[in-house]
């Protein structure tokens, strides 16, 4: 009997451990049928598959290293959202994140967009990171789950900025497109 109870508890705990926070679930459900919002989910199984990939370049190696301990990624990204609407969703999402007990890591507010990064720690290690971003016509809610190394991620972003000019150019194109949409 005791063994059985133990097994059931382990099964239950396993379920909890791999499910990403309530905030993401809420927004996934809310925008599940809204086509203006792109929903992305990368499972822990997929991440474990990534660890078997071979890196060809130094950048790739760095990238694979940074994601090697991640267990999940979920994102809701809205494009072509009205400015007022985007602001409203941003404020709502920030409130939801705060309510769930995430700690604020940083908030950046400028003319272009607002970004808030919050984390959940467990024993000195970052276990989950949530990013909420709301800007002109854009909204993003992003959650990373697993063992997160901020140094690696930040280094990755800056090295990509130097080496990955291709990526940057693509990003710039995206922004210009959005500006055009605004003017229209």
């Amino acid at each position: 009997m005791k063994k059985l109870v133990a097994i059931m508890l382990i099964l239950g705990a396993g379920n909890l451990a791999f499910s990403q926070g309530a905030v993401m679930t809420k927004y996934f459900e809310k925008y599940s049928s809204d086509e203006d919002f792109t929903k992305v989910s990368v499972s822990s199984k997929m991440f474990s598959l990534f660890t078997e990939l071979d890196a060809n370049t130094e950048d790739e190696k760095e990238f694979l290293d940074a994601i090697s301990k991640l267990k999940g990624l979920k994102a809701v990204v809205g494009e072509n959202v009205e400015s007022a609407e985007s602001k409203r969703i941003y404020a709502g999402a920030v409130a939801d994140v705060d309510k769930e007990g995430y700690e604020e890591l940083m908030t950046i507010t400028d003319a272009e967009e607002n970004v808030k990064i919050s984390i959940k720690e467990n024993g000195g290690k970052i276990e989950e990171l949530i990013l909420v971003a709301g800007g002109k016509s854009k909204f993003a809610l992003l959650s990373l789950y697993g063992e997160i190394d901020l140094k690696k991620i930040s280094k990755l972003a800056s090295s990509m900025r130097v080496h990955g000019m291709q990526h940057l150019r693509n990003l710039d194109d995206d922004y210009e497109d959005d500006d055009d949409n605004d003017r229209n």
């Binding site: 996934f28 599940s32 990368v42 994601i67 940083m106 990064i117 990373l144 930040s154 990755l156």
Partner: protein, 141 residues
């Protein structure tokens, strides 16, 4: 000439006795235990007949518990699996290449946010440093 009981026994071993004759054979041996080795056999038969099914024999309670528990466990596990299946993420990316690309984009977004924050923090410390230097100089004067 064989005695009638010997004839009966012969008949018994051939399997030709009627129920009535069989009873006579059995009682003959039980009543005369010293007659032959065969009497042992018949006494054994009589003893076996006395063994009766006793429905009040205690069932192995541990076993009962275990089988009940196992049944419940199977039910629960099935329910858990079904639930998990229904909870399966409808937006999960199946294509590894795309998943990798999305992960890269997400990390870029988080990373550039972090870097932006860091550069602000750096500028702030610079300003603070300059302020302190000014203060020190003004105090020195």
């Amino acid at each position: 000439m064989e005695s009638p009981i010997e004839q009966l026994i012969e008949k018994y071993w051939n399997g030709e006795t009627t129920l009535e004759e069989e009873k006579r054979v059995k009682s003959h041996f039980v009543e005369n235990p010293a007659l032959s080795k065969e009497s042992d056999y018949f006494r054994f038969l009589k003893k076996e007949q006395e063994v009766k099914f006793n429905p009040k024999v205690k069932k192995n309670s541990r076993r009962t518990w275990l089988s009940a528990a196992a049944t419940v466990a199977i039910g629960l596990i099935t329910a858990a699996l079904v639930l998990q299946e229904s909870n399966k993420d409808p937006f999960a990316i199946e294509d590894p290449q795309r998943a990798l690309e999305e992960t890269r984009r997400a990390l870029m977004m988080i990373g550039s946010g972090l870097n932006e924050g860091q550069s602000y923090a750096l500028e702030l410390t610079k300003i603070n440093k300059a302020k302190e230097e000014l203060k020190e100089e003004s105090e020195a004067l």
